[in-house]
């Protein structure tokens, strides 16, 4: 069986003001695989992720051209299609940032936030989904007795897993991760790496990283950012 | 963009328009109500003439002179004081003193002007009367002291902000070159904060010009060009407060709208100048 292409990028050019960060980038990401993007920092790796979920539109001065398709519900959708709301796209293509960014609310409310955004009011269902997401992020056992505590009281590694759980709560098809372990110690990073390997089964992962060993351990596909473009390594 | 987002945007935009219409409509109201006066006298006569309504002269020169004199003198007093206080807060004194001083200055911005005026009436006016044998004791000098005290705290905070915006590398470079704190303050901090200082000065001038109660309660309110600090004088603001009770149809009444316009234009110019200066600082620091 041929692998299915989940994300297709063609001719993506990205600028901040007058500075071009990416030029004419093309890439393919396969469904159910973990793709890694490596390269020196400050060369547009994070920018590339923001182009996939259109988050760049919220960054003043950012400008993108080119086309990105994501395969959702069995058909390819053009990301920049005006009839495709950015909010829906961002629920299906979720993102985890480099530094853990829990919102100023309780652990429970953090994970429930995407459901609140979607307008889900059924409390029982929300509680189920939150528990499911926390379990999938290997966090449930650590926090099940303190769901009402401020999320910012968790440790760094726990916060990052909370952010992953939050991203998973809306059942996304794709999960984008921007150097998810770089602000953590080795042990916490190891937990997250294990987590990523299990998540691969449910969704497509695109991970930005600059730890080459980590990439070798985890990735099915590796791209390198160099000279304003992406080159495939393996 | 969702429908909800468009709706919210529309509501907020309408509110913004309403708020932005306020400064314009204030000016338009002043113009309309000052018209009886403007149609019977030329503007230059009004701005340079003397005030003698019984003889049919409605010039506001005495009030303009008094306003300017009072505002610039109080600025001249409070500028060095504010500079000194901001310097202390910036680091010329140990934090043990600087922090409480900053707190105090912040709290002083909350002193009601009417209280300054009240204290002036019962403390300063009798003192001035006894010391200088100056009539009632209500004169420019009596207004000058509390007015300068009133604008000092805001000016100090403006200056502190300007000092705090001086880039750290410059300070470190000066310290590395062996400059002591005072030398750093005088040679490095003040020059590089000069635009912020000027903006603070201009805004404080607007504030001094716009104060009503201190001048009304303490300056004596005689509508003549003052010839000294112990003379009674009437500012533009006090003139408005005094003449508001006049007959609505009279030209005297229309003159307060002319005063209002002059104040409006001057303070708007001050705000615009300050904005220009701050915009220039922002560009430089980028």
């Amino acid at each position: 069986m041929d692998p299915v292409v989940k994300i297709r990028v063609e001719g993506l050019t990205f600028r901040y003001g007058a500075r071009t960060v990416l030029r004419e980038v093309s890439a393919l990401f396969l469904e159910g695989a973990l793709a890694a993007i490596v390269g020196p920092s400050g060369r547009g790796k994070s920018t590339f992720l923001m182009a996939l979920n259109r988050l760049w539109e919220e960054v003043p001065g950012a400008h993108a051209q080119g086309r990105v398709w994501v395969r959702l519900d069995g058909r390819e959708r053009l990301v920049s299609d005006p009839s495709f709301p950015a909010t829906e796209l961002r629920r299906r293509v979720a993102m985890v940032f480099q530094a853990p960014n829990p919102l100023r609310m309780s652990i429970f409310n953090n994970v429930a936030f995407p459901l609140k955004v979607m307008g889900q009011r059924n409390k029982r269902l929300v509680a189920q989904e939150v528990e499911g997401a926390l379990r999938r992020a290997f966090l449930w056992d650590e926090v099940k007795d303190r769901l009402d505590e401020d999320a910012r009281r968790l440790s760094g590694g726990q916060q990052q897993r909370l952010c992953i759980a939050r991203a998973l709560a809306a059942q996304p098809d794709v999960l984008l991760l921007d150097e998810p372990t770089s602000s953590l110690d080795a042990r916490a990073a190891g937990v997250i790496e294990d987590l990523l390997l299990t998540l691969k089964r449910r969704c497509t992962l695109v991970v930005v990283s600059h730890y080459l060993e980590q990439v070798e351990r985890l990735a099915d596909q590796v791209y390198e950012v160099a000279h304003e473009t992406l080159e495939i390594l393996s | 963009m969702s429908r909800r987002e468009r709706l919210v945007r529309k509501i907020l935009g309408t509110a913004t328009l309403c708020a932005a219409a306020l400064p314009l409509s204030i000016l338009i109201f002043m113009l309309i109500l000052a018209r009886p006066l403007l149609s019977s006298f030329s503007v230059s006569d009004l701005l340079t003439g003397s005030w003698a309504p019984l003889q049919g002269r409605y010039g506001i020169l005495p009030m303009m002179v008094a306003s300017f004199l009072l505002a610039s003198c109080s600025l001249a007093v409070s500028f060095p004081v504010s500079l000194g206080c901001a310097g202390l807060i910036f680091g010329l004194t140990p934090p043990m003193l600087a922090v409480p001083l900053r707190r105090l200055v912040q709290l002083m911005t909350g002193f009601p002007t009417v209280v300054y005026g009240f204290v002036g009436v019962f403390l300063l006016v009798p003192t001035v009367r006894h010391l200088f044998h100056a009539g009632s004791g209500r004169c420019l000098l009596s207004a000058l002291v509390p007015l300068s005290l009133m604008i000092t705290p805001t000016m100090t905070l403006f200056f502190s902000d300007a000092f705090a915006a001086v880039p750290r590398p410059i300070l470190l470079a000066a310290a590395a070159a062996g400059a002591d704190p005072v030398q750093r303050f005088v040679w490095v901090v003040i020059p590089s904060a000069r635009r912020g200082l000027a903006a603070g000065l201009v805004l404080s001038f607007g504030r001094a010009l716009g104060d009503t109660l201190i001048a009304l309660m303490l300056a004596g309110n005689a509508a003549q060009v003052p010839s000294g600090f112990l003379e009674s004088a009437r500012t533009l603001t006090a003139h408005i407060a005094l003449v508001i009770a006049a007959d609505l149809q009279s030209l005297e009444f229309a003159s307060i709208f002319l005063c209002g316009m002059v104040l409006y234009v001057l303070t708007s110019c001050a705000a615009l100048c300050a904005w220009k200066m701050r915009a220039a600082t922002r560009k430089n620091s980028r």
Partner: protein
């Protein structure tokens, strides 16, 4: 010789500090010295007992009670008008406007902030003239007009506080909810506004303080010496700062003068505490107030 001028500069700074401290001490000390002995229930209610004045509806003639209530009504009205308009405008400026338009609007509100309060009062007075002419000859300067004028006076505070609090929200926080599929309105209501609550609250407190202390505006828009407890927004009213001003121009007896000092002390205390609270809120209110978004 070389060492003398830094020493002189330092001395000058200390002299400036001493001057400002003694100025503050002079004002507070003088008002407290003369006003403190007269702070009692009689000051507020005169010869009427507190219970009768509060619950019995007995009118108070020689106490500060009507002036205090007038000021409270005035502040409530002005802030109730200014808060929604100022919040909406601040949010629009920070979140929905860009480039040239934003710059022009910001300058507009800078200008509005600089207009002297007596000119704002004059505007309020002319609005009441207009109402008198167009709507009903019974209308004139009144509580409503004064509250409207004070609203104009404090609107820039609320706008600026809201705008800068929203603009200070860090980029990471701003993007978090958006990356989870929230639209801009959801992001605003659930993340950005809770995040900027402190800044907005301090702006509102400053606005309350300004309304309570300003005298020039109400001087032109319907304040009077005796009006009793405010009953209608279309009537003239009494207010604390005006009472202080009035006493300073004409007091009949030492008793009245003492009451004036006590009123000045009250106003000073209220105003300074509001400002202190505003600064404290901006610096240090922890997450307790913002815990549930």
């Amino acid at each position: 010789m070389k060492r003398i001028w830094p020493w002189a500069v330092r001395c000058g700074c200390y002299a400036a500090g001493l001057w400002i401290v003694s100025g503050a001490a002079g004002v507070v000390g003088f008002v407290a010295w003369r006003g403190l002995p007269h702070l009692n229930a009689q000051l507020l209610f005169g010869d009427v007992s507190a219970r009768d004045a509060l619950f019995g509806g007995v009118p108070v003639f020689d106490g500060l009670w009507p002036a205090v209530l007038g000021t409270v009504a005035l502040v409530t009205g002005a802030v109730a008008l200014a808060a929604p308009l100022g919040l909406a405008t601040g949010i629009y400026l920070a979140e929905f406007s860009r480039g040239r338009l934003k710059e022009v609007l910001t300058v507009f509100f800078d200008v509005l902030a600089g207009i002297p309060s007596v000119v704002v009062g004059l505007f309020g007075f002319s609005v009441s003239l207009l109402l008198h002419k167009l709507v009903s000859p019974r209308l004139g300067p009144c509580l409503l007009v004064a509250a409207f004028s004070l609203m104009i006076l404090v609107l820039p505070y609320v706008i600026r506080a809201t705008q800068s609090a929203l603009e200070e929200v860090p980029q990471e926080v701003r993007l978090t909810a958006l990356s989870l599929g929230a639209d801009r309105v959801q992001n605003l209501v659930w993340v950005l506004l809770p995040h900027s609550l402190q800044g907005i609250a301090s702006g509102l407190l400053l606005a309350v303080g300004r309304c309570a202390e300003d005298t020039a505006v109400i001087l032109l828009t319907g304040v009077v010496v005796t009006a009793g407890v405010p009953r209608s927004v279309l009537d003239p009213f009494e207010a604390l700062p005006f009472y202080i001003y009035y006493i300073s121009t004409q007091y009949g007896s030492t008793e009245e003068l003492e009451r004036g000092f006590a009123a000045a002390l009250i106003l000073l205390g209220v105003s300074v505490s509001l400002f202190a609270l505003a600064y404290a809120v901006r610096r240090a209110v922890g997450s307790w107030a913002l815990y549930r978004a």
